[in-house]
Symmetry: C2
Subunit: 177 residues, 2 copies
């Protein structure tokens, strides 16, 4: 039988990441690990680890995602709870056998290569529950994301250097004229 290991994160839907950080980071003192644009979830997500779990602030970036509709209908607040499981396929099978309604009958890939699946709130008395299994690829995918981000920053730095150089050269020329 598959086993739940811990609460991985609690996701809060917000309409303004900065305003929410004003409470969670600045007033409460949680550390902000990073903010990430997650196009496949049509959201920007801020990650604030505490103990062995995270508080995640989710702001929808489109109008028609599940999170966007939730925000419109219920306003900002708690959105879902994510539990780490040791074997997600086995857990999904176990839930199906007990008549639990699943949103994802097989796991999908979340941010950083996580294997995830959602359980329907109809089977949980109104709570959206996400299951997550650490996949062997996850550390590698996280590393590649970080590398890709670093390369973009370097490339942007180079582009800025070129622009600044051209600008300064223009100034010098104007001065020489």
């Amino acid at each position: 039988m598959a086993r739940i290991k811990r609460i991985d994160h609690v996701a809060l839907v917000v309409d303004d990441i900065d305003a929410a950080l004003g409470f969670w980071r600045d007033a409460l003192g949680l550390e902000l690990s990073h903010v990430e644009d997650v196009p496949e979830q049509e959201s920007v997500v801020a990650f604030l680890p505490t103990g062995e779990s995270e508080v995640e602030l989710v702001r929808p970036t489109t109008d028609d995602s599940g999170v966007a509709k939730y925000l419109r209908k219920r306003g900002p607040g708690m959105h879902h709870i994510c539990l780490e499981v040791d074997d997600i396929e086995e857990m999904l099978q176990q839930l199906k056998e007990r008549g639990v309604e699943l949103i994802n009958e097989t796991p999908t890939l979340g941010t950083g290569g996580k294997k995830i699946a959602f359980i329907h709130p109809r089977s949980t008395q109104g709570v959206l529950v996400e299951l997550y299994e650490l996949s062997p690829q996850e550390p590698q995918i996280r590393l590649e994301r970080a590398r890709h981000l670093a390369e973009r920053v370097v490339a942007r730095g180079r582009a800025m250097a070129v622009t600044t150089y051209a600008f300064l050269r223009g100034l010098r020329r104007n001065g020489e004229e």
Copy 2:
């Protein structure tokens, strides 16, 4: 500056503890540590530990508590998130200085002698946040509660033994007549 240590629990409001246990305990496999009638919170609470946190199922036992009104208005679902803090008085002071609206300006005593305080959802983009500090009295209070419960069970056992004995004696007498 006071520090948040971990997510202590996530509280879910339910209209039926047994139905909720059908999912959280029976299908998902979380362990049920105990179910407790908490008159000061006008609720019955089921505690399901996972990792360093707990999932708590809360069923209102009166009609006019905050949880009862929440259940009537929004239906069952996620109710609040509780964070453990190393120094609750200092944290409340720190939050007040940053303009955060508090439901409890000073800590109150929760189940098992916990020092707790709630932050108003108006200051957190719709999330009811509970703060909790482990008090030095908590282990002692928990022990006394357990002892009291054990005594009640023993007393009930004795009462049942007396009743059963009287019943058997009655049967024997009837047989002898």
